[in-house]
Symmetry: C2
Subunit: 393 residues, 2 copies
């Protein structure tokens, strides 16, 4: 097969707020080859990601992503890796390229799996899709009292694990943050996994992060996520050395395998969290999962958007029974809910699995997406290089 | 002052080829505040970089760069750092943001310098602008014979240092590469600095790079640049340990201070090469220069485009007399030549200096740029969010 077409669909809620809620818009990618269609999703700013696909070439090491994808061979998983390697080299000076490629790469796996009648995890070499314990991914409320309510609601919805993120953490006092952590624990109950995500709020300030460790330990937090900016490996390692109880987690910002490896080797994280929609897709994420296994680090997906992204994010570690916990978008905006016609439901024991169906196993509900489709046109000179394609095209 | 306007100008040669020549297009940025105007340049893919400024917000951690810049206070250098910190946090999920910010940040320094009647290097705390030895930045030809001619031409043009890059190096045999290195040395003469840049051709393959070390040592190469991809710190360190004679250089891909620091600390480079048009501008580059001094690493600019970019790239280490060598675009395309009305000429002794004039000291020749201006329009819904502004506006 040759890759015949790559189409980008920018979806957005009618109103987008400054909430740290990544489900307010989405960039879906549809790839066509050999009579098949595959779908993927970039966890990325839609417009710059589209631009990185369609833009004119700047020079040999700053080519648009399209130059490495359109017309390329697609018969085997190795072909996907070859496309990724070509993007890494020929688009090395195009920073956004990794985010653009991520959704395409997922779609290539989906398409190849449908062509071969195999789930992606099987093409990655796994023999079965192991059950994962989904944690509800939630945001801290403005007050501890409100966070307590959110935690109780998640527990009542059957979640045995929940992560609370962002909100006011790190912007007020240590005591205020301690109240929030305690509220999350109280609402979820003593037997649940409770995780805390502070969204890089401390930049590289180890002392500020360390000041929260006693309260996190008191709340029996399973991990502290993203205390620092994605590249601050030294700060990560310094905090890890001071936190015997609470593991440090990070990695969602990784836009290549090396960044994730460095966060493990130099940053000493106990959990590495990979977003397939940013790291370049499923292949690089699978490489990170193998590195994590070799290091005794726990691999976790990072997914805050749709069940298309969720299925993709489960594939790289679907067969790793010991890497059991998984992020699950518990309360996404309606557009993110609308994307998958067949979302990944929790089984009776509360677990989920990567689908047995071919490819990513997700049917994209194109008709339900029409209300969210953003109409975009990019013109360079007299040439329209991008216009939103029809969803049913 | 408040930042009133930020305008992007995408310039391109009529024909852009796959040559590794970054001067085939340019993205200039003009910032207006308090009756002053400042100019900067992103060393980046123009269209995705523009999109990262004007795109709609995706969520609180994926805001367009414009959200942190327009209307922001600009009275002191600290205000520029505050804007950069805000972009790092509020646009943390927008990968292209660092490249977009780079040109803006330069323009902010230029504008502030013109307002204060001070050169940028003085605002950075340097007492004088030290002479730098410019090296001609050239590409390897397809054959060693042709490379020899290019080297002789550079020497005849008065260059006492030259770097040869890309071309066929790493794609053929070790012996063929050795011929190329020898030709470069022969053409430049025994007393010149000769550097070699292989443009990440070896990805993470230490053995393939190491196989070229004897020939590089025989040609008395001053450094070997970018043998590996920008994040391959382990490979850099492994090669550095095997190369006592030829220093390893890298860093142009750094899009934040941490990446450059890691290349020094984990990658053990002897030369750190920073492009102000990618790392986020002059402030982060200056921070890297200070880290380099503390580590005994030599700071070098990375500049392959215009003299606006060249002036910006000299500022971060203008006052460091011991960090003497500097990259100089010796043979750029006409559009890159046209940008600066007052380019940085070499003095009688062959050296150049960052200008004494206020700001970056470069007058942008807006009228000469009209033939290269690319007409772009980006529409989202019914709103045109970007249209190429008039150059004389």
């Amino acid at each position: 097969m040759r890759i015949e077409a790559v189409d980008f669909f920018y979806l957005a809620m009618p109103e987008v707020t400054t909430d740290a809620d990544g489900s307010q818009d989405a960039l879906l990618v549809r790839v066509a080859a050999g009579g098949h269609v595959g779908w993927g999703e970039c966890e990325a700013a839609p417009l710059p990601s589209i631009a990185a696909f369609v833009c004119p070439m700047s020079h040999g090491a700053c080519r648009p992503v399209s130059a490495s994808v359109l017309g390329a061979r697609l018969d085997r998983p190795e072909d996907i890796a070859a496309i990724s390697a070509r993007v890494a080299h020929d688009s090395m000076d195009l920073l956004q390229a990794a985010h653009t490629l991520s959704g395409i790469e997922m779609a290539l796996w989906d398409l190849l799996g449908r062509h071969r009648d195999q789930p992606v995890w099987q093409m990655l070499g796994y023999r079965r899709s192991e059950p994962k314990l989904p944690y509800a991914s939630l945001l801290f409320a403005d007050t501890a009292q409100e966070t307590l309510k959110r935690a109780r609601k998640a527990r009542a919805a059957g979640f045995l694990a929940a992560k609370f993120g962002w909100g006011p953490i790190g912007t007020g006092s240590v005591a205020q943050d301690a109240d929030q952590f305690a509220a999350a624990r109280e609402g979820m109950g003593a037997d649940a996994h409770v995780m805390v995500d502070v969204g890089q709020i401390f930049a590289e300030d180890v002392e500020a992060a360390a000041a929260r460790l006693p309260a996190l330990a008191a709340a029996n937090a399973y991990w502290l996520e993203e205390p620092f900016s994605g590249h601050a490996y030294e700060a990560y390692a310094a905090l890890a050395a001071r936190s015997p109880d609470v593991g440090i987690a990070g990695g969602e910002a990784a836009h290549n395998v090396a960044m994730a490896r460095h966060l493990m080797d130099f940053g000493k994280v106990r959990f590495v969290q990979i977003d397939c929609g940013r790291i370049g897709g499923i292949g690089p994420a699978h490489a990170v999962a193998q590195l994590a296994v070799a290091r005794g680090v726990t691999y976790v997906n990072h997914t805050f958007t749709t069940h298309l992204a969720l299925s993709a994010s489960l594939q790289p570690y679907a067969g790793l029974a010991d890497h059991r916990i998984c992020e699950y978008p518990a309360d996404p905006r309606p557009l993110a809910v609308a994307v998958a016609a067949n979302p990944l439901r929790r089984a009776g024991d509360g677990t989920i699995r990567a689908p047995e169906a071919p490819g990513l196993g997700i049917e994209v509900a194109t008709r339900a997406l029409a209300p969210y489709l953003v109409d975009v046109e990019i013109r360079v000179g007299s040439r329209v290089i991008y216009a939103t394609p029809p969803l049913d095209g």
